[in-house]
């Protein structure tokens, strides 16, 4: 049981217009993009600046109340799911771009800034912000930092962490600290590196310094149609083996193509496995490499090869790809989005195995994936109205994650562990690995109030004695349960 919320203190912290306590309004915040988990928070606060975030967090720390920070709520693993009766810190009002420095190639933004707004702000000078999760037109930088978001182009350009130079963070104690710097290799431990991707469990980022990148001279996108995703997968391996580093390598299978076509009419060729290759760089370089890519596609039996002829055509190709998750609604009443990673070479084998597993339980799985880095997004399609099918679909989606781990991969490439994959994290890492991560967690948040009960396989308390796990006194006394 949580202590009653100190509503008056929260109101003083953020002002009456920054506090939500009415039940119907609170319902807006009861879930994120993972909608099958819903929990009603006790209050939502909308701070305007770091001082207000500090005031809220200090209040939470004093009363031992859990808090969860939230951007646009587009996360797909339940990272922004509230704790029942706890506080949600919405960073929606902290949405200013504070500084743009072209000479040093960085921008300083507040966490509520929308991902694509960063690029919009610097585009006129020929720059862009590289990480591009499919939700980039709505998701926020704060959420990207929490999840270490990737996107289609991280094969060449890296993830959010690659582009995060510095952070201003409110620690779970309420203290305000700086991690990193716009200059490289700030002295001390790389706390910015650890904070990015910590899914809101180590504090609240209130300012983020991001690297921006010069837009390449030429970008070309090629579509190649194969009779199976396996053949498309082999082509990906061959392109990489030839020493190329395309900016994106994406594959969609028939189901995914059908859904995307129905949703946005991207004019994809209908086929068993559609490969999308994007190259960028100097004009002569892209032209030479594109010739090589075409030859590799042909060698692997591509039925049709097309290059987007204009920016508009290229944008449409990407629109279809980025709409693929949401488009599943067109071909199935319900679906589960998964996010496993495998070594690239395991692709053909793992895809066949997923197919076999799905057939065995009479379900369909659509495949959309960032093939270049082995990041699969199997979409398990089902109908909640059919009794038992949701449980079967969930079970299948978790078994697919286990398959990824068994193949030498990971349970998540970009969506995060959140609430959804806590148990799977325990499948991927052994107890000593998890205990070591917990040392970091406890150094940042000994009171376990910053997005508690997420990421790790079971609730853990910060025992005073660091090192290998020892039962907490509360646990021995039967007051707190560790399961």
């Amino acid at each position: 049981m949580l202590p009653p919320l100190p509503i008056d203190e929260l109101r003083i912290a953020v002002g009456a217009d920054g506090l939500i306590t009415g039940e119907s309004q609170l319902q807006t915040y009861e879930c994120d993009g993972l909608t099958n988990f819903r929990v009603l928070p006790g209050a939502v606060v909308l701070p305007r600046n770091a001082e207000e975030v500090q005031a809220v967090v200090r209040t939470c720390a004093r009363h031992k109340i859990p808090f969860v920070s939230r951007g646009a709520g587009t996360g797909l693993s339940g990272g922004a799911l509230p704790t029942a009766g706890g506080v949600v810190i919405s960073l929606a009002r902290m949405n200013r771009i504070l500084e743009v420095d072209f000479a040093n190639k960085y921008v300083v933004v507040e966490p509520g800034v929308i991902n694509s707004h960063v690029t919009q702000r610097v585009a006129a000078r020929g720059y862009f912000y590289a990480p591009d999760p499919s939700s980039q037109s709505v998701c926020t930088i704060g959420g990207n930092v929490a999840e270490n978001s990737g996107g289609a182009h991280c094969l060449k350009y890296g993830f959010t962490v690659t582009h995060t130079l510095a952070l201003e963070v409110v620690l779970p104690s309420g203290e305000l600290v700086q991690f990193g710097s716009p200059t490289l290799d700030a002295t001390g431990y790389d706390l910015a590196g650890v904070f990015v991707g910590s899914e809101g469990t180590l504090g609240v980022a209130t300012k983020v310094t991001l690297r921006i990148v010069k837009r390449p001279e030429v970008v070309q996108t090629l579509l190649a149609a194969f009779d199976s995703p396996q053949a498309a997968g082999q082509t990906v391996s061959d392109i990489i083996a030839a020493g190329m580093l395309p900016s994106a390598l994406e594959i969609m299978d028939t189901l995914a193509i059908e859904a995307a076509e129905a949703a946005v009419h991207a004019h994809y060729p209908m086929c068993g496995g559609l490969l999308l290759v994007e190259l960028d760089g100097s004009g002569s370089e892209v032209e030479a490499l594109m010739r090589e890519v075409r030859a590799i596609c042909t060698k692997n039996g591509a039925e049709e090869i097309r290059v987007a002829q204009s920016d508009a055509e290229r944008a449409l190709v990407w629109k279809g790809r980025k709409a693929a998750f949401a488009a599943m609604g067109r071909i199935s009443p319900n679906y589960i989005v998964q996010d496993g990673v495998i070594p690239r070479t395991a692709l053909p084998r793992v895809l066949s195995e997923i197919d076999r597993m799905a057939t065995a339980v009479n379900l369909r799985v659509a495949n959309v994936f960032h093939a270049g880095d082995g990041n699969l997004h199997p979409l398990v399609l089902y109908d909640r109205a059919i009794e038992g099918q949701e449980a079967t679909a969930l079970d299948l989606s978790y078994r697919i994650l286990h398959l990824c781990v068994d193949s030498g991969g990971s349970i998540t490439g970009e969506h995060g562990v959140g609430k959804e994959k806590q148990e799977a994290l325990g499948y991927m890492f052994s107890e000593p690995d998890l205990q070591t991560m917990q040392l970091v967690r406890c150094a940042f948040d000994p009171g376990n109030i910053s997005n508690p009960d997420k990421v790790f396989p079971r609730p853990r308390l910060c025992a005073e004695k660091p090192g290998p796990y020892t039962p907490h006194p509360l646990e021995t006394a039967g007051i707190a349960e560790i399961f």
Binding site: A103, F159, P182, K214, E217, P468
Partner: protein, 413 residues
Amino acid sequence: MSITAALTLEECRTHLASIAGEEHAQISGESVGVAPADARQIAEVLRFADANGITVMPSGSGTKVGWGNPVAAGIRLDLKRMNTLLEHPWQDMTCTVEAGCTWAAMEAELARHGQMVALDPLWPEKATVGGVVATNDGGAMRLKFGGLRDLIIGMTIVLADGTIAKTGGKVVKNVAGYDLHKLMTGAFGTLGVIAEVNFRLHPLEVHARTWTATARNAAELDAPLRALLDSQITPSSVQLRARKHASALDVRIAALPECMGNHEASLRKIFGTIELSQTAENVWRARQELFDTEDAAVLKVSMLPADVCRLSAELQQSAASEGVEIDIVAQATGLMTVALQSAPDAAITLIEHLRWRLRDSGGSVAALKVPQVLRGGLDAWGCDSNALPLMREIKRRFDPNRILNPGRFVGNI
């Protein structure tokens, strides 16, 4: 001689020999050197040291053993036996290598499949993977490929209490759990011992060329450097070399042979009237050569990229007026190495001035190689981060008895 109140050196050696083998545990001066064969043996050594309060300094070939504050270690944990490239699934473009493997030995193996870890550390023939990672070393290639933070995808570490933990994984894209390997990179062995490292790999740059532009003063190279970095050319490496009365800017571009001409033309356009000539690849050893000057202090200075030429010119100026000898190699990323020869007082004044000069932009000055005369008078790190209490708490959680390189790192961590 004794190592702690309760243990003699010989007793300590005997115990370590029981872990790693007779021939791999030796007394040297007032410490015992031990060379474990694997992570399990590292764990046993650390458990013994932790239980007996003996300080441990992990080391590879010792090329950077003097960096940071000095440590009087009871046990020198020598990783030279752990020198194998364990896995190189070349089609996945990843590898797993033991910490004691020299950089060059790893490179040679990876090159058999035309691949590399895209980093150019100091003394690759001697330096080990573990040492490079623990000190977060790296050269001018960082401009194109990023630093170790971007190249390491996983690690096996051993904590002070003997816990063996894995972090990250063997795939390039992975956000499961905390990235402890980022915490270990550049931690100077104060949080745990790195046993194995997993890297993402890049194709070797087969066709590359280097051009050099020269000028008397670094300030003259400011405009072309800024124009280059603002252009769509993506050089592998760019560095500024500067001495009292001479400056040079080196640019290395890798491209398909048929495209090299276009790149050269773009480059010449940027440099305009400043002469540009093709140079040999050994100019990229310039950073390493700064460490060769016998009694020089060597500094790692971190600044904003646009400040590189300006600050170099300022340093050239102070060298001219104050009788200080300086030798600068600065990467276009804003990381500069400076060799500094002068009377101790003048050196300390200059370092303090630099720290003050860089404070507002978030820059820093770490003294890597510190001559004996400067020891004591100089804080090697100059870290005034408000996150220092948190760093200390992390250290306390990882190494509560302070046995791993105590005092070597920032804020006496």
